[in-house]
Symmetry: C12
Subunit: 85 residues, 12 copies
């Protein structure tokens, strides 16, 4: 296995409630679910893109920290979400 995967982009997910799901989607020609991780309130996941995962989906109240800003999934109200950057 080559070394460069350790340099892949990563992001951080902080669960704001129990049962937040972080679902990995496959990189290959077919985009399928291949793994789902559950996070409870206050749990954090730090994850990279890998040879097997090119997309993730997050379900439930959470805060995502990414290179394009901080994304909250529980604040979609009147003013809507804003990018903290």
């Amino acid at each position: 296995m080559a070394d460069s995967p350790v340099m892949g982009e990563y992001f951080v997910i902080l669960a704001l409630e129990n049962g937040v799901q972080v679902i990995g989607l496959t990189r290959g020609p077919e985009t399928k679910f291949h793994h789902a991780e559950k996070l409870d309130r206050g749990e954090v996941m730090i994850a990279q893109f890998t040879d097997h995962t090119s997309a993730i989906k997050v379900r439930g109240k959470a805060v995502l920290y990414t290179k394009h800003g901080v994304v909250r999934t529980d604040d979609l109200g009147s003013g809507g979400p804003t990018a903290g950057r």
Copy 2:
């Protein structure tokens, strides 16, 4: 499979309503739909370009976080959208 795909550009999509569609278009000589992912209100997708996907289309109210700014699809009014950067 080579390693470098893990370094590909990524962007973040936050759904503001149920049924937001994130549609992958193929990279090859023909540009076709190859996958559609549905996001419900408050769900988030973090996705990379891949060997199979060179474009995506988003349908429904959503906020996109990209390296060129934050794009809202639900605020096309008089003043129109503005790039939060």
Copy 3:
């Protein structure tokens, strides 16, 4: 297929009206239309340059987010467009 295409430049197109066309032009010795994608009001496309596409043309009211600024196609009036950067 090599990996590096996933690193290609990308841009974002937000349709401000129905029927916005995003037309791909071929990279080869002849510059021809090879694909046209229609976007309705509020739809967004995130697209990379690829081995097959070295230029795109946008028809209809839209906002383009690029590394050289934000370009609106519906504001060509007296003061003319300005680059929001």
Copy 4:
């Protein structure tokens, strides 16, 4: 075909009137016209330099967005053009 062309420099052209011409000039030992694209008012073209095109010429009222600034072709008056950067 190698992959790196997708990383080539690009620029954006916004037509301010009908019939703006974007003319590609060949890269080879002879500099010849090889393609002309017409843009109508409000149309936009995003184009890269390619293995076949090392220069382009723009005729008609337009705004160009480049890494050296924003260039307007319709404002050559007393004060002359200024680079918005």
Copy 5:
């Protein structure tokens, strides 16, 4: 073994209570737990992504220092977490 792993991204975890768990998830086609490290209040772990670990999960009150900001897992109240950056 190649050298480049020493260049991998790293992050810092500071435990705010006893029994904070730092759980490594495998990089391979299957995402499984492969190691769990316990941190007591005031202990710190500095960890890289590796050939074997592409994600980690943190359980318990802690502060994470990452390239996307500082994440606290114990402050999910009214105002919610904020990214100190």
Copy 6:
């Protein structure tokens, strides 16, 4: 033909009068004119250095946009030109 030429430096020339000449000089051991392009008032040329061109000469009133600043050829008066950067 290798790919990297598409990454070459480019500059922008905006003609302020009819008949502006953009003259390409050869890269080889002998420096000779190999091509001259005429620009009329308001026309723009975006050009790269290439395997065949390592210098260009501009004759006539024009504005050049380069990485070292904006150069006007029609303002050589008392105060002289200034670099807008």
Copy 7:
């Protein structure tokens, strides 16, 4: 042995009390302790990630200087730690 390890990331640990432990964890498929270094009050360790160490654990009152900020392990009170950056 290849040369690049000398370019690996490093961090600095300053002990604030006697008996601070800096524990190296192995990079391989199994994450095990492979070395523990003791620091007394006022002693400093500057350490790189290596082919053998992909994580370290610090026990005892100390200040860590890392690329994500300065981390104190002895100030977990009401306001909690803050990242000095």
Copy 8:
């Protein structure tokens, strides 16, 4: 011929009077004049270093735009030249 020469450093010379000379000096073991280009008032030359030219000499009133600043050759008075940067 290899491609990288197109990436070479370039500079811009604006003639402030007729008969400004831009003289290329050879790169080889002997430093000799190999080409002289004449610029008239208001003419501009954009030139790269090449496999054949590693130095140029400018004679006559001109403004040079380089990565180390803007150099005027006609303002050597009391205060002397200043680098506009």
Copy 9:
């Protein structure tokens, strides 16, 4: 011997009292002391990580200048050390 070691990270140690020890720890599978250098008050050492040294330990009052800030080992009082950066 390859050349790249000369590019390794370095840091600076200034002794504030006699007998400051700078102790090199081995890079290999075993972490052992392999060299100790004594610095007297006012002496300075500038040292790189090498193929043989992946960590150093400093004993005694000193100031360390590193890429993560300036670290003093003699100021651990009430307010504690601060990173001068």
Copy 10:
């Protein structure tokens, strides 16, 4: 001949008096004069380091523009030279 020399560092020399000498010193095991160029008042030389030249010496009143600042050779008075940067 390889291509990369065109990327070499360069500097600019503006002569403030007649007879300024720019003297090239050889790169080889022996450091010898290999070329001297004379500049008259107002003449400018832009020169790269080359495979044959690793040092130059300037005699006479001149201004040098380098990446470390602007150096005047005629202002060594009380306050001495200052680096304009």
Copy 11:
């Protein structure tokens, strides 16, 4: 001999008194003195790390200019040294 050593890190040492010693320590498995250079008051040495030298020691009153700041060896008083950066 390979070329890259010329790119190695360097630092500057200015002697504030006669007899300042700059002592080179060997890079190899054993760390030994291999060279000592004496500087008198006002003399300066600019030195790179090399294939043979991975550390230097400075004895005597001097100022060191490094990428981590300016270090004075003669000002260890009450307030202690400060990093001028």
Copy 12:
């Protein structure tokens, strides 16, 4: 001979008095003087590190312009030298 030496680090030395010596020290296993250049008041030398020179020593009143700041050798008084950066 390879090309990269032209990319080596350089520095600038301005002599403030007659007879300033710039002494090159050899890169090899032995550090010896291999060349001394004399500069008179107002003369400047721009020099790179080379395959043969890894250190230089400057004797006499001079100003050095380096990437770590500007170093004057004639101002070692009460306040001592300061780094102009």
